[in-house]
Symmetry: C2
Subunit: 322 residues, 2 copies
């Protein structure tokens, strides 16, 4: 089992360090926060505040380096990687994959990089919010591009599997389009709702119940994290935002003219049913050989159909799909 070096020990990085250690990996981490490093060390984790030292150790051990720093800090840390571990096995957990890929290609061109993104998180953040169980059963995107080395991809996928996640193979572009829809748009709608709600003053806050608290929950996320992911995914987010604006505008027009909202509400109900049935559907097993000539397109086709890889053995990835 390959060693793991986690740079950045917030909610995701801190949870990953715990989970990798729990899975029996030799794992160490670095954070520039003295407080977090102290807290991690006191609970038995191998953590330093010197990122360079952690990276040099990774280069020596040919460890898998996981960047788990905020998007705003990525370029700075990639510069360190280029200096101290330029050929390393590299992945990340950032919520935007196209700009990450471009940054890695520019700043650490000799690294063996496969982008990653675990679809988990809470409105909480920081080392203390972490848990080794954070990734249990969640989808973890592991990117496959036309030039991806699938042995590197398998290393990244195996780490995700070891911490309890399911692996979704996707291109960076397919990832970014999809998260615009199911993560970045929800954050913006939650922000709009929380702003409109707060305009209602103490009375509105007093009457706010389930529909409002659910709809605004992620508006409590740290603004700089939400800005980084939404602003960083501009090209994919714009058409999704236009779709939402068009639907909300049609809703407004319909309410003002005929007074009827059936189209909006029925479409929403069908959408809710689509989510529920995707969670319940019978899943069939599929296998993809990682050494086949069309392995990359086989993997991304599986991901695009909503499939997930649940095991790797030798050169074969086993997945399930509806």
């Amino acid at each position: 089992m390959r060693d793991v070096c986690v740079i950045g020990l917030g909610l995701i990085g801190g949870s990953l360090l715990r989970a990798a250690a729990s899975a029996g990996r030799t794992a160490w981490g670095a954070t520039t926060s003295e407080v977090d490093a102290d807290a991690a060390s006191r609970t038995g984790f191998d953590v330093v505040t010197d990122v360079d030292t952690a990276l040099r150790r990774a280069a020596d051990a040919d460890a898998l380096v996981v960047l788990a720093v905020p998007l705003t800090a990525v370029n700075e840390v990639l510069t360190r990687v280029a200096e101290h571990a330029p050929h390393c096995l590299l992945t990340d957990v950032a919520s935007v994959k196209g700009t990450m890929l471009a940054a890695v290609r520019r700043l650490v061109p000799w690294s063996r990089y496969v982008g990653g993104h675990p679809m988990s998180g809470t409105a909480e953040s920081g080392w203390t919010a972490g848990s080794p169980e954070l990734f249990r059963g969640v989808a973890w995107v592991a990117c496959v591009e036309e030039d991806t080395d699938l042995t590197v991809w398998a290393d990244v996928a195996q780490l995700a599997l070891d911490v309890g996640a399911h692996v979704v193979p996707l291109s960076a572009m397919a990832h970014d389009e999809t998260v615009a829809r199911i993560s970045h748009l929800p954050h913006l709608l939650a922000a709009v709702l929380a702003a409109v709600g707060a305009q209602g003053g103490p009375l509105a806050m007093s009457l706010a119940a389930g529909s409002y608290t659910d709809g605004t929950r992620v508006a409590g996320t740290r603004p700089e994290l939400v800005r980084a992911m939404t602003e960083g995914n501009r090209a994919a987010l714009l058409p999704v935002l236009d779709d939402a604006l068009g639907r909300l505008g049609a809703t407004r027009g319909s309410l003002a003219s005929t007074g009827g909202l059936a189209a909006t509400i029925n479409a929403g109900h069908e959408g809710a049913q689509a989510l529920a049935s995707s969670r319940e559907a019978h899943r069939a097993e599929v296998q993809v050989s990682l050494t086949a000539p069309d392995a990359r397109s086989g993997l991304t086709a599986l991901g695009e159909r909503g499939g997930r890889i649940t095991a790797l053995a030798g050169d074969t990835a086993t997945g399930e799909v509806n």
Copy 2:
């Protein structure tokens, strides 16, 4: 303690029948669903399928009649009330109060009516989804108009208190404006999000995590219930929808031009903090005499400040406010 007659035994009515009985009230109910009536009777509740019989018993006992039927069935049931219990003490649990008040004034002009609305609910519905604990700690609006008889209001408020709720005194208009903001808009945004998300197909459903499942949860509510409350609150909902559209349009414009989303995201974060601090704030005790000349405006002023009545004793309502 006044007897209680609940007409309609879905989630809210069924929970209220259970809670009123638990609080020691003599309580009976009526539902046109044979299945629900059977289920309720088998668990020891006094339930009939003949609404007229239940209403005549209420007239004889001078019971408080609670209409808990869907908005679409209100006019039909009010006609029955006018026939069998025309002078009864009457309240309801509907999510729109202006149209209810107008319907009651038109169809049952001699009833002693005070509108009500418990701010609770789930995406579930029906008798079997109910619980006697559904109202514990929730805000229950009890309407106060210029001509409201406060002895009737106190009867309605006491029932809400007996089942564990806090009472918010408000005019029908203030209620409708506020629920447009914190309940009806959230339902429409959830519907829009669920529709945009589902356009992403199985891949989008596979990657959907917390922000999406939270943001779309109420889109699973039965469409006819959501239509009735949103379409029934058209006048109050339109300006709120315009506010949301304006903010979402500005978000789109900002992302397309400067690429920055700070204004949207910061306003949302402030809104989330306003909700959190309203839940945590120190609350001061206030008392309102129900026999004072300005009692009605004293009550609605308390409600509009985000205050809640937590006890009634004699002619005095005790409340708390931030």
